[in-house]
Amino acid sequence: MRSALSDKLRKEDNALEIPQRYYLILSSYYEQQPDKIEDLLDGAGAQLWNNIHFQVILSSLVHRWVCAFISFDRRVSSDVNSSQLFLPLNDTPDTLKRLNVFIKGANKLFWLDLESSTKRFYAIYLVGPTCIIWLLLTRSL
Protein backbone atom coordinates (compact mmCIF):
# COMPACT_ATOMS: atom_id res chain seq x y z
CA MET A 1 0.00 0.00 0.00
CA ARG A 2 2.85 2.36 -0.78
CA SER A 3 1.74 5.70 -2.06
CA ALA A 4 3.13 8.78 -3.72
CA LEU A 5 3.00 10.53 -0.36
CA SER A 6 5.08 7.81 1.27
CA ASP A 7 7.66 8.00 -1.51
CA LYS A 8 7.76 11.76 -1.08
CA LEU A 9 8.29 11.39 2.67
CA ARG A 10 11.14 8.98 2.07
CA LYS A 11 12.80 11.41 -0.35
CA GLU A 12 12.40 14.21 2.17
CA ASP A 13 13.97 12.05 4.87
CA ASN A 14 16.95 11.51 2.60
CA ALA A 15 17.11 15.18 1.65
CA LEU A 16 17.07 16.20 5.31
CA GLU A 17 19.62 13.48 6.10
CA ILE A 18 17.55 12.16 8.94
CA PRO A 19 19.74 9.43 10.46
CA GLN A 20 18.44 5.89 10.25
CA ARG A 21 16.95 4.89 13.55
CA TYR A 22 15.24 1.71 14.69
CA TYR A 23 11.81 3.29 14.74
CA LEU A 24 12.23 4.61 11.16
CA ILE A 25 13.17 1.16 9.91
CA LEU A 26 10.19 -0.39 11.62
CA SER A 27 7.78 2.30 10.49
CA SER A 28 8.71 1.44 6.88
CA TYR A 29 8.10 -2.22 7.70
CA TYR A 30 4.62 -1.53 9.08
CA GLU A 31 3.82 0.66 6.11
CA GLN A 32 4.61 -2.22 3.76
CA GLN A 33 3.02 -4.89 5.94
CA PRO A 34 0.14 -3.24 7.81
CA ASP A 35 -1.18 -6.61 9.02
CA LYS A 36 1.76 -6.77 11.43
CA ILE A 37 0.37 -3.80 13.34
CA GLU A 38 -2.34 -6.11 14.64
CA ASP A 39 0.38 -8.27 16.24
CA LEU A 40 1.62 -5.17 18.06
CA LEU A 41 -1.81 -4.22 19.31
CA ASP A 42 -2.66 -7.79 20.31
CA GLY A 43 0.62 -8.03 22.21
CA ALA A 44 -0.05 -4.77 23.99
CA GLY A 45 -3.52 -5.65 25.22
CA ALA A 46 -6.04 -3.13 26.45
CA GLN A 47 -4.12 -2.22 29.61
CA LEU A 48 -1.32 -0.42 27.75
CA TRP A 49 -3.44 1.97 25.71
CA ASN A 50 -3.33 4.73 28.31
CA ASN A 51 0.35 4.29 29.10
CA ILE A 52 2.39 7.31 28.01
CA HIS A 53 5.35 5.17 26.94
CA PHE A 54 3.17 2.89 24.83
CA GLN A 55 1.65 5.92 23.12
CA VAL A 56 5.03 7.26 22.02
CA ILE A 57 6.17 3.79 20.95
CA LEU A 58 3.06 3.23 18.85
CA SER A 59 3.24 6.71 17.40
CA SER A 60 6.86 6.27 16.33
CA LEU A 61 6.15 2.88 14.76
CA VAL A 62 3.00 3.61 12.79
CA HIS A 63 3.48 7.17 11.52
CA ARG A 64 4.27 6.03 7.99
CA TRP A 65 1.34 3.65 8.01
CA VAL A 66 -0.98 6.49 9.05
CA CYS A 67 0.13 8.60 6.10
CA ALA A 68 -0.08 5.66 3.67
CA PHE A 69 -3.50 4.79 5.04
CA ILE A 70 -4.79 8.33 4.60
CA SER A 71 -3.34 8.85 1.14
CA PHE A 72 -4.72 5.44 0.12
CA ASP A 73 -8.08 6.56 1.41
CA ARG A 74 -7.83 9.76 -0.61
CA ARG A 75 -6.93 7.84 -3.75
CA VAL A 76 -9.95 5.58 -3.34
CA SER A 77 -12.29 8.42 -2.47
CA SER A 78 -11.31 10.38 -5.56
CA ASP A 79 -12.60 7.51 -7.70
CA VAL A 80 -15.99 7.10 -6.08
CA ASN A 81 -18.97 9.25 -5.35
CA SER A 82 -19.47 10.94 -1.99
CA SER A 83 -21.81 8.25 -0.61
CA GLN A 84 -18.92 5.76 -0.73
CA LEU A 85 -16.33 7.91 0.99
CA PHE A 86 -16.52 5.91 4.20
CA LEU A 87 -15.74 2.56 2.63
CA PRO A 88 -12.05 2.41 3.62
CA LEU A 89 -12.82 3.43 7.19
CA ASN A 90 -15.67 1.07 7.94
CA ASP A 91 -13.90 0.06 11.17
CA THR A 92 -14.28 3.61 12.47
CA PRO A 93 -14.21 3.04 16.27
CA ASP A 94 -10.88 1.20 16.12
CA THR A 95 -9.45 3.64 13.61
CA LEU A 96 -10.37 6.66 15.69
CA LYS A 97 -8.93 5.07 18.83
CA ARG A 98 -5.65 4.37 17.06
CA LEU A 99 -5.45 7.83 15.52
CA ASN A 100 -6.13 9.33 18.94
CA VAL A 101 -3.26 7.38 20.51
CA PHE A 102 -1.06 8.32 17.56
CA ILE A 103 -1.76 12.05 17.98
CA LYS A 104 -1.12 11.90 21.74
CA GLY A 105 2.19 10.13 21.12
CA ALA A 106 3.26 12.54 18.38
CA ASN A 107 2.46 15.46 20.68
CA LYS A 108 4.63 14.02 23.45
CA LEU A 109 7.48 13.37 21.01
CA PHE A 110 7.30 16.96 19.80
CA TRP A 111 7.67 18.28 23.35
CA LEU A 112 10.42 15.77 24.09
CA ASP A 113 12.42 17.03 21.11
CA LEU A 114 11.67 20.65 21.93
CA GLU A 115 12.81 20.31 25.54
CA SER A 116 16.02 18.53 24.58
CA SER A 117 16.69 20.69 21.47
CA THR A 118 16.95 17.67 19.17
CA LYS A 119 15.21 16.40 16.04
CA ARG A 120 15.15 12.72 16.86
CA PHE A 121 11.44 12.36 16.16
CA TYR A 122 11.11 15.07 13.55
CA ALA A 123 9.60 12.70 10.97
CA ILE A 124 6.73 11.77 13.26
CA TYR A 125 5.44 15.06 14.58
CA LEU A 126 5.99 16.98 11.36
CA VAL A 127 4.24 14.61 9.02
CA GLY A 128 1.86 12.56 11.14
CA PRO A 129 -0.44 15.24 12.56
CA THR A 130 -0.47 16.99 9.17
CA CYS A 131 -1.88 13.82 7.67
CA ILE A 132 -4.47 13.56 10.43
CA ILE A 133 -5.56 17.18 9.95
CA TRP A 134 -5.81 16.52 6.23
CA LEU A 135 -8.01 13.52 6.98
CA LEU A 136 -10.24 15.52 9.32
CA LEU A 137 -10.59 18.36 6.81
CA THR A 138 -11.46 16.10 3.93
CA ARG A 139 -13.76 13.75 5.82
CA SER A 140 -16.46 14.27 8.38
CA LEU A 141 -15.10 11.94 11.06
Binding site: L26, L40, G43, L48, F121
Partner: protein, 62 residues
Protein backbone atom coordinates in the same frame (compact mmCIF):
# COMPACT_ATOMS: atom_id res chain seq x y z
CA UNK B 1 20.85 -13.04 0.01
CA UNK B 2 20.20 -9.48 -1.14
CA UNK B 3 20.36 -6.47 1.09
CA UNK B 4 16.61 -6.10 0.75
CA UNK B 5 16.06 -9.59 2.08
CA UNK B 6 18.52 -8.93 4.90
CA UNK B 7 16.66 -5.76 5.80
CA UNK B 8 13.33 -7.57 5.80
CA UNK B 9 14.71 -10.24 8.11
CA UNK B 10 16.13 -7.53 10.32
CA UNK B 11 12.78 -5.77 10.41
CA UNK B 12 10.97 -9.02 11.16
CA UNK B 13 13.31 -9.79 14.05
CA UNK B 14 12.87 -6.30 15.45
CA UNK B 15 9.13 -6.64 15.10
CA UNK B 16 9.15 -9.96 16.96
CA UNK B 17 11.29 -8.48 19.70
CA UNK B 18 8.91 -5.56 20.14
CA UNK B 19 5.87 -7.83 20.29
CA UNK B 20 7.62 -9.99 22.91
CA UNK B 21 8.53 -6.91 24.94
CA UNK B 22 4.99 -5.56 24.79
CA UNK B 23 3.58 -8.91 25.92
CA UNK B 24 6.11 -8.99 28.77
CA UNK B 25 5.23 -5.44 29.80
CA UNK B 26 1.51 -6.14 29.75
CA UNK B 27 2.11 -8.88 32.34
CA UNK B 28 3.85 -6.43 34.67
CA UNK B 29 2.30 -3.59 36.61
CA UNK B 30 3.14 -0.07 37.70
CA UNK B 31 6.75 1.09 37.66
CA UNK B 32 8.09 -2.21 36.29
CA UNK B 33 5.84 -1.92 33.25
CA UNK B 34 6.86 1.72 32.78
CA UNK B 35 10.52 0.76 32.97
CA UNK B 36 10.20 -1.94 30.29
CA UNK B 37 8.30 0.36 27.93
CA UNK B 38 10.65 3.27 28.58
CA UNK B 39 13.68 1.13 27.71
CA UNK B 40 11.97 -0.10 24.56
CA UNK B 41 11.20 3.46 23.52
CA UNK B 42 14.80 4.60 23.99
CA UNK B 43 16.10 1.58 22.07
CA UNK B 44 13.80 2.46 19.19
CA UNK B 45 15.25 5.96 19.05
CA UNK B 46 18.84 4.70 18.70
CA UNK B 47 20.67 5.21 15.42
CA UNK B 48 21.27 2.15 13.24
CA UNK B 49 24.08 2.73 10.82
CA UNK B 50 24.64 -0.97 10.16
CA UNK B 51 21.27 -1.56 8.52
CA UNK B 52 21.93 0.98 5.82
CA UNK B 53 25.04 -0.95 4.84
CA UNK B 54 23.13 -4.22 4.86
CA UNK B 55 24.95 -5.62 7.87
CA UNK B 56 22.86 -7.33 10.46
CA UNK B 57 24.13 -6.18 13.81
CA UNK B 58 21.08 -7.43 15.58
CA UNK B 59 22.28 -9.20 18.67
CA UNK B 60 19.73 -7.26 20.63
CA UNK B 61 16.98 -8.43 18.28
CA UNK B 62 17.75 -12.14 18.65
Amino acid sequence: MTNTTTDQLFQLRLHNKIVETLIASSKEEGSQRDEILKNLFYELSFKVEEVVKGKSKINSAN
